[in-house]
Amino acid sequence: MAEAWRGIRVTIPSDVRYLGAIRTMVDEACTIAGLPEEDRGEVQLAVQEGCANVIRHCYKNQTGRPIDLRLTFRDDALEIHVDDYGTFVDPSRIQSRDLDDVRPGGLGVHLMRKLMDEVRYSKNAWGGTTLTLVKRLKKGGAKENA
């Protein structure tokens, strides 16, 4: 028999006021996943940047559009999917900026790539983009902590 899915699903509107609540939820999820204290802030920031990019770039700051978050407790990692319902963006166009080019903005993707073990973009079933963020457990796993 297939193992039951272990995770959290939540949908928020594309409104930056909701991101604080998402960070709190992600922090709790990190605890359930068994991630150490030092990793929790990193995962919170990566999810924050992923959602903020959806609001700014995909929905052009339009509020009330849905953002789906799926957090899955894998045995070896916390895997997070951020789904939007906009237009699929070619991953090759989503790039970190050159850090020597000092200017406000453009650091979100760079931070996600630095903070997470995996960052991937793919087309979802609704024609939008799914951002996948993975933070691997250093030892032990969700089973021991859940």
Binding site: V16, R17, G41, Q44, G105, L107
Partner: protein
Amino acid sequence: MKVTREKRDTTVLVSVAGSVDIYSSPELRGELKVALEQRAPRIVIDLEKVTFVDSSGLATLIEALQKVHEYQGKLVLCGLRAAVLSVFQLSNLDNLFEIRPDVPAALEG
């Protein structure tokens, strides 16, 4: 987020508490704008009570630094917690900003 601004001689001290993110950073930008419009010779931003900063928060601070440099002023950050400092380091901004351990050290420099 909570922001307060006070003048100490020729320095404007901006104290920030809480999360500096895409939601709250416009408020910080507004407070900094006042100091920048006054062309304060030195702006010290106390981040001791800041628990979280995202790329929008960083962008707000980079923007302020660039504007301060336009009139040959000085902008100093202080009191960064380890988690906040780490975000600066990951973005190579720890070398761009003048960072001091606390307000007295920032006011001395």
